[in-house]
Amino acid sequence: MARTKIDPSLVPIMPAAQVKGTTTNDSAAAGYVGEVISSYAQSVAAPTSGQIGDVTSITLTAGDWMMCGEIYATVSGGTLTELTAAISTTSGNSSSGWISGDNAFYNWTISSTAFTVPVVPRRVSISSSTTYYLKISPLYTGTCNGNGRITAWRIR
């Protein structure tokens, strides 16, 4: 079979893939990349010291998401000595599914009246609607309240 030499100058150069983003303050529609589901809760009464509670929750539809959160806890009339923040699919006083350093983050050396613990971004890939709970577990004396936000965005 005869070979044909191609003039390189005639080969089109394809630019690197680029996806144009929005240039205004709108939101991606449900089901599209960039969709955001988020919840913030303030003044949530913390569970009894050493127990686990839910600050807030979101329900994600099937797909591929990144998710993160953070807990800000305050104490009045006492001291906060430990704070754990986590994200899991189990509500209530349960640490089911917690993986330290992955979806659960601990701070053991607090001696304060206020502290924040983040839950860093983590991919979740789900085949059906799933509710995720932002969990708080403080050790404290006095009265403890938690604020927190959980956010997920569809990544593909």
């Binding site: 939101s27 449900a30 969709e35 955001v36 589901i37 988020s38 919840s39 913030y40 809760a41 303030q42 003044s43 949530v44 009464a45 839910d54 600050v55 807030t56 929750s57 979101i58 329900t59 509500s91 209530g92 509710t131």
Partner: protein, 51 residues
């Protein structure tokens, strides 16, 4: 769309990206209900709490 609410446990909450019906169903799993409020009402409450 964002929904602003006072949850039955006393927490002040906003949720973005979910329908009102889905929010109510999600809270029901935790035996919670909510009273929806306007963004303006929410902002006043949060501002007072932050002082």
């Amino acid at each position: 769309m964002k929904y602003f609410m006072i949850r039955s446990d006393g927490a002040y909450v906003y949720i973005e990206g979910m329908s009102e019906e889905d929010i109510i169903s999600m809270l029901a799993i935790q035996s919670l209900t909510c009273e929806f409020i306007t963004e303006e009402e929410y902002d006043v409450i949060i501002a007072a709490l932050q002082e």
